[in-house]
């Protein structure tokens, strides 16, 4: 059965979602979702083990050989992303019960879990596939469910946020379809490996660069790369806490993965960077994203929105890593995929716990929660350290590799800028810490106490992951280096 793991990874949450929609009670649906997510995590671990041991896995769906049928193809890169996505799912699902029971109507819960599982299935499906059209189909599975989850937020602005997300997401998806269509017109194939083989023959036409442009813009819309990020802040701010934590840690990461896949596997590094001069586009965009979004984050009153802008800045770091187009740079980018997922998910879960108790996530409303909810805020502070990049946390590891990559290319100013932007993270995290620890709790909120264990445990599981992979980074960096080499086609 082990040879079927790639498809089971996607099919199990998909089928579980279909069942979940019919379960009458929210609690039962929740248990079902948690079990599914944990099985998914187990499968992704097994797959990563298989890839580490035996190299690339290929799975032919329907038994039809590629390029006639659809192929799943897993190398180090997507095995790692699978682990990130299913790992985050396995942590967020247990958290979801109490948090969602507070934030959405009880009668909606089973269908909400169905949407959650479908979103998980869609994201995993994007990650494993080796077929560009299949990628679009699963992209839509994950997108439609994301729009739904965002729209379920309590505030009415969740609706407009979901609508804008839907419009921007659909434009992005349509751009991807146009790009795929142009490539298909030139090569007659949809399989990524086959495309990679056939694109060089037609690379000198005008069509292939245009296809490249449409795909890049389409995917950048999905990953909210500056300046195509406008849909993201409100979507993250107003969706239910559990959905924010899940989407922030997975959806944009998978989009970054897709970008990597197209740049390095489908078009090839030499086309993307030597012909299209992509580094001169990505480097400034990444830097501007880091700077401007960190700056905007500093002035936010709502902690969720602040973290959303911080996510946009972090996407800038990943893009910066990609723009170096070197093994070290890509390692930094891929490591930051993992690290930022762990950091941001932990922070959003901590904020979700605060919301569970005090019903607000405004900085002013969080005055005094440091003493009332010491474990929750402790987690927030440690997550904040990791976001800043303090040594012994995962945040430090990714910054370290990023700076190494910058120095390797001789771009000293970029290395300096990375350090400076870390200080901006200090400022916005400090604003929350100051309010939580150094301001008295307002009257009428004496009853606020520590978040329940069901919320604390998932949060702390991620914090421990932050510290563990910050101290012993051999596993994550080992996989990331292998992944970077695989993408660049450099032998290990």
């Amino acid at each position: 059965m082990t040879e079927h793991l790639p498809v089971l990874q996607v099919a199990i949450p998909m089928m579980a979602a279909l069942v979940s929609a019919l379960i009458p009670r929210g609690r039962v649906a929740w248990g079902w979702a948690v079990a599914t997510c944990w099985i998914g995590l187990g499968i992704s671990m097994l797959i990563l083990g298989q890839v580490l041991a035996g190299g690339t896995i290929s799975y032919e769906l329907g038994g039809w050989a590629a390029p006639w049928g659809i192929e799943y193809r897993i190398d180090h890169v997507n095995a790692f992303v699978l682990l990130i996505v299913s790992g985050i799912g396995a942590v967020v699902a247990p958290f979801a019960r109490l948090s969602l029971e507070r934030e959405i109507e009880p009668s909606h819960l089973p269908r909400f879990y169905a949407a959650f599982l479908l979103c998980l299935s869609g994201l995993l499906g994007i990650t494993v596939t080796g077929d560009v059209f299949n990628l679009f189909v699963f992209l839509e599975v994950s997108s439609l469910t994301s729009y739904t989850m965002v729209a379920m937020g309590q505030d009415r602005r969740a609706l407009t946020a979901a609508y804008r997300y839907l419009i921007m997401g659909s434009i992005g998806a349509t751009f991807i379809v146009i790009g795929v269509g142009l490539l298909y017109a030139m090569t007659g194939t949809l399989n990524m490996a086959d495309l990679a083989e056939r694109i060089p023959e037609v690379a000198s036409t005008r069509t292939v660069p245009v296809a490249f442009g449409f795909l890049t813009v389409g995917i950048s819309l999905k990953l909210a790369l500056f300046p195509l990020h406008l849909w993201l802040p409100n979507a993250y701010t107003y969706s239910p806490s559990a959905a924010t934590a899940f989407l922030a840690a997975t959806a944009t990461k998978v989009a970054v993965y897709v970008l990597l896949r197209f740049f390095f596997t489908v078009f090839g590094a030499s086309f993307s960077f030597d012909v299209m001069q992509l580094d001169y586009v990505l480097l400034p965009l990444g830097l501007v994203a880091i700077f401007s979004m960190s700056m905007v984050a500093i002035f936010q009153e709502n902690v969720k929105r602040m973290l959303a802008y911080s996510s946009l800045a972090q996407i800038g770091y990943m893009v910066l890593g990609i723009s170096f187009a070197s093994v070290t740079g890509l390692t930094a980018g891929i490591l930051h995929l993992f690290n930022h997922a762990v950091i941001k998910c932990a922070l959003f879960l901590a904020v979700g716990s605060v919301f569970y108790r005090i019903g607000s996530v405004r900085i002013s409303a969080m005055a005094g929660v440091g003493r009332q909810m010491p474990w929750t805020m402790g987690a927030f502070v440690l997550g904040g350290f990791s976001l800043i990049g303090v040594p012994l946390t995962v945040g430090f590891i990714s910054k370290w590799y990023l700076i190494l990559a910058a120095i390797e290319r001789g771009w000293w100013p970029v290395a300096g800028l990375i350090l400076i932007t870390s200080l901006m993270a200090v400022v916005y995290i400090w604003r929350v810490v100051e309010s939580a620890y150094f301001q008295p709790a307002p009257g009428g909120r004496e009853s606020a106490r520590e978040a329940p264990l069901a919320l604390l445990l998932p949060t702390w599981a991620l914090i421990i992951a932050n510290l563990y992979f910050g101290i012993d980074a051999s596993l994550t960096t080992g996989v990331a280096i292998e992944a970077a080499r695989a993408l660049l086609g450099v032998g290990s």
Partner: protein, 140 residues
């Protein structure tokens, strides 16, 4: 409910024919254009017509919303289920050749079943979506 007798009788006559046509589209898919998706939409259109003429309540009496929800989930489940069955029979996911000794038979059975799955999901989803929109008005 519409007071127009002609409209009501026309609907009574049309609806069974619409369903018949849907089934024709469904099972003719191997030979000509058509298949589960188109059939599902056409079948849902039959109920929409019925609801427009006879009202939402009466339609929901004939076809309760819950059936739509079940149909929507079970169709996709049937589709994925075919995949699981082929796994258990030793093939790859959705490899219909594993379903029968002769691969033509296997493919036929596989295609027939997944098209049925598509029909159920499309029909169920379209009905559910229509009910959701139409029912929203009643809540005013």
């Amino acid at each position: 409910m519409s007071r127009n007798v002609i409209l009501r009788i026309a609907t009574k006559v049309l609806c069974p024919n619409i369903f018949l046509f849907a089934l024709y589209v469904q099972f003719h898919g191997d030979y000509g254009p058509g298949g589960g998706f188109q059939a599902g939409v056409i079948m849902a259109a039959g109920f929409v017509l019925y609801a427009l003429v006879y009202g939402l309540e009466r339609t929901q009496g004939v076809f309760p919303p819950l059936w739509g929800h079940v149909s929507m989930a079970s169709g996709a489940f049937l589709y994925a289920g075919v995949g699981v069955v082929t796994l258990l029979l030793g093939g790859n996911f959705l490899d219909y050749n594993a379903l029968a000794v002769d691969h033509h038979d296997g493919q036929h059975w596989g295609i027939f079943t997944v098209e049925l799955g598509v029909l159920l999901t499309v029909f169920g989803a379209m009905i559910s979506i229509f009910y959701a929109f139409a029912g929203r008005r009643g809540l005013d």
